[in-house]
Amino acid sequence: MAFIPHTAADVTAMLSTIGVERLEELFEEIPRALRIETLPGVPAALNEMQISRLMSERARSDGQPLCFIGAGAYEHHIPAAVWAIATRGEFYSAYTPYQAEASQGTLQTIYEFQTMIASLTGMQVANASLYDGASAFAEACLMATRLNRKSKSLNILVPEAVHPHYRKVARTVIAHQGVRITPVPFDARSGRTAAAALEAHANEDITALAIQQPNFFGVLEDVDALSQWARSRSIPVIAIVNPVSLALLEPPGGWRGGADIVVGEGQPLGIPLASGGPYFGFMATRQEHVRQMPGRIVGRTLDLAGHPGFTLTLQAREQHIRRGRATSNICTNQGLMVTAATVYLALMGPQGLERVAAASHERAHRLIAALTRHAGVRRAFSAPFFHEAVILLEQPVAPVLEALAGEGIHGGLDLSRDYPQLGNALLTCATETKTDEDIERFARALGELI
């Protein structure tokens, strides 16, 4: 029970060593009035056989539908080796690598990860991860205020085409430090954020500009124009990017105006959808900003014998040392997911990742073509898209999605709550995992419903 090895004989012997007669005496410092004797809200223990059966039934009841939902979490093929390695006990049950000599496996993996993320994003340094893309964006907003101390407004421009949950999380986290977000509208025809929309703020004190590429609608923004608008006004740029898309798209480091902080959701890199988490947020920045970057960072150094080794570095920025003046309160991050993502990227390499991005792009275009074959279904936006897009129906989306779900198809995300101005809008996605038959099945089912 409870994975406890002690026998009655063990307990007796140990109590004797301690010099007490009963276990109860070890708890004598706790006021009697606080002690509880039972736990009525907790069921009786199950053994492994019983809980396995319960969980199998529950997992089975949720089924395995055909998934065309994107909106920040994407289904990609995950090689079997990724989780076979990540769930090895030596990675799975290791702690944060504070004792470097006993953690070279984890530390070197993170160093390799930092290298891959820095290169993918076109930046010089990356950290060892944050909780997810949304909280990484919130941390980026706070970091931008530290980078741009000249700006007193603490006002960050964030396009409405940035993921609604990212904007909500950022507001929750930054509100208490006096930082606010000002929305920038998108163009209703193209789905892009126009540089002209930024012009409304041309003479204001702006602390930072956020740019998401592709944006929440899957649309490809004119990142050169947007980043250049900011750079020409010495406004730091926060880029939010999809890591798979970076195999095909020029990364923020290469945008005409460049970027100062790059963040995003790492889930597409070998992490299963898993009902929402755990995922991981990545963050990368320029060399000169490294001391303002939150989270753990691994560095390579030498040991006493002059041999190379890895260790956590720049820890003075973190909560366990700086305490009240830390860059963030983050302690535990998403270490295991980083291990998985590193193995994934090693298996895919530059060619494989490009193939995944290209195939996803092509599948999504085939999907949109198939769906818009029907009268009553059309594309919402004219600008090019990466691997998801918004389609417009001539009837409310919710009942259509419900009926599709009844047939084992999760068709996408209803946008009517977050973007009522779009009307009956549905955000739908296809990755390399969708076959021609999958797409046909969805298109046929939709056709029967509208």
Binding site: I18, G72, Q99, S103, T106, E112, P278, Q319, V343
Partner: protein, 489 residues
């Protein structure tokens, strides 16, 4: 354990090599990617075969100490066995393949698990309501303090700008208070390890928003006057926040709600045995009393008759908001759920019993072996603190030296230099899943190192000797930043 250094993965790269079985077929053309947006130079990613990648990362894993390979008595981290069933069942295909935005009617199995987890956590903590969304203890702390702020602001009380924190607190506590826009007020701990009540009284006032505490405290002892502390803080109009890092000591025996706490976080990756993963992912579920219920972060799982669904901002207009893009670290929550079902109501107090037995046994044995307890007149809880101040002074061997030499004995070191209050300290938490023999081996190793410190101190000061690397130069690491691999030109 293999003790061979392993090159960085990029050193195995050869142009054109790759695990091509994992790649989709090449796409003929890219319909709509504007040329000006296309990537100009390929990213630096490894070009290796699948076997090379598997071999490399397997070898790297073998360079780690982990619970599955070594005794890992890190104080305040609760390094107990992570049951394999928890991992396997959380990764069942039905759970693993589900998109977070998939419709609730088709996720009833998952939602039932999450709802029952909320209920079990409520029961063991004595709180009225729980939200599972914070993704780590620190995020849970942020949510807790943000809720305290929301509560006072809703009452129109804007004078409360301070959070009280004992000087022994974990670093996330003051960092969190600052993130929420509060000023810090630190109060001292008395010589016996409890909070100094007079100092607390002096710190309380109309400016007090709340206090952040752990019980048992970070010093490894139970805050004996907690009921009085709670009364004083409430009288002054403040709220009490409980840092749940040390819940393992009192699981099933004492509930933070009964102690007077208004809000708390739990570390599911400590008390509820989800894996530490080399630095996460964790989960920092929060619990609240009735007063703070409206402010809980969303989404929360609710049950309506026989059906479950998520409550979000529309259902909870006073919520502090969202903390994650989706619903937090769901996979971690499922692992905690399985663990709690395996423990059941009988198993939880047993955890606290054996964790406390193990810590007190270690305390007795270590004192007998000549080590100094930081609080010799107190019972250990689930962890204990020893101080090597005397050895540092007499033998010039520090707590860090002891920690490094323990690695040579095949054991991970305890937590060093925390709590900050105790000089040259080791904070040791064996957990309930370790056997008596393992504890005896630890004491024997410590005794051996003490002996060695007297006779051959250089061996201890220069430790570790048997690991894949010797002690690392962290001054160089911070001054000559080498944070990414670069190809030699």
């Amino acid at each position: 354990m293999s003790v061979r250094p392993e090159p960085v993965i990029f050193e195995y790269s050869r142009p054109g090599r790759g695990a091509s079985d994992q790649w989709p077929a090449q796409t003929a053309h890219l319909s709509e990617l504007p040329a000006e947006l296309r990537r100009r130079a390929p990213p630096l990613l490894p070009e290796v075969s699948e076997l090379e990648a598997v071999r490399h990362y397997t070898r790297l894993s073998q360079l780690n100490f982990s619970i599955e390979t070594h005794f890992y008595p890190l104080g305040s981290c609760t390094m107990k066995y992570n049951p394999k069933a928890c991992n396997q069942l959380a990764m069942l295909p039905g759970f693993l393949a589900r998109h977070p935005l998939a419709p609730a009617p088709h996720g009833q199995g998952l939602l039932a698990c999450l709802y029952e987890l909320q209920e079990m956590l409520r029961a063991v903590t004595g709180m009225s309501a729980v939200s599972l969304t914070p993704m780590a203890g620190a995020q849970g702390e942020f949510a807790g303090v943000a809720m305290i702020r929301a509560y006072h602001e809703a009452r129109g009380d804007h004078a409360r700008r301070e959070i009280i924190v004992p000087e022994a607190a974990h670093g996330t506590n003051p960092a969190t208070a600052t993130m929420c826009g509060y000023a810090l007020r630190e109060i001292p701990v008395a010589a016996d390890g409890d909070i100094a009540l007079d100092d607390l009284r002096a710190a309380l006032g109309p400016q007090t928003a709340g206090i952040m505490l752990t019980n048992p405290s970070t010093l490894g002892v139970f805050e004996r006057r907690i009921v009085e502390v709670a009364a004083l803080v409430h009288e002054a109009g403040g709220l009490l926040y409980y840092d749940g890092a040390n819940l393992n000591a009192i699981l099933g025996k004492v509930r933070p709600g009964d102690m007077g706490f208004d809000v708390m976080h739990m570390n599911l990756h400590k008390t509820f045995s989800t894996p530490h993963g080399g630095g996460g992912p964790g989960a920092g579920a929060v619990g609240v009393g009735k007063r703070l219920e409206p402010y809980l972060p969303v989404p929360i799982v609710t049950r309506e008759g026989e059906r479950y669904r998520f409550l979000d901002e529309a259902d909870r207009p006073h919520s502090i908001g969202r903390l994650s893009a989706f619903m937090g670290n769901t996979g971690v929550l499922l692992r905690a759920y399985v663990y709690m079902r395996l423990l059941g109501r009988e198993g939880m107090p047993l955890v606290a019993d054996m964790a406390t037995l193990n810590a007190n046994y270690l305390l007795a044995c270590l004192m007998r072996a000549g080590f100094d307890a930081a609080y010799p007149s107190r019972r250990a809880t689930h962890e204990l603190v020893i101080t090597l101040k005397r050895q540092a002074r007499e033998l010039e061997v520090t707590a860090m030296d002891f920690a490094k030499r323990l690695l040579d004995h095949g054991m991970h070191a305890p937590t060093t230099y925390f709590p900050l209050l105790v000089p040259e300290c080791l904070l040791i938490e064996p957990t309930e899943t370790e056997s008596r023999e393992t504890l005896d081996r630890f004491v024997a190793a410590m005794s051996q190192i003490l002996q060695e410190a007297r006779q051959e101190p250089e061996q201890v000061r220069g430790a570790p000797h048997n690991m894949v690397v010797r002690r690392l130069d962290d001054v160089r690491a911070a001054k000559q930043l080498d944070l990414t691999w670069k190809p030699t030109p």
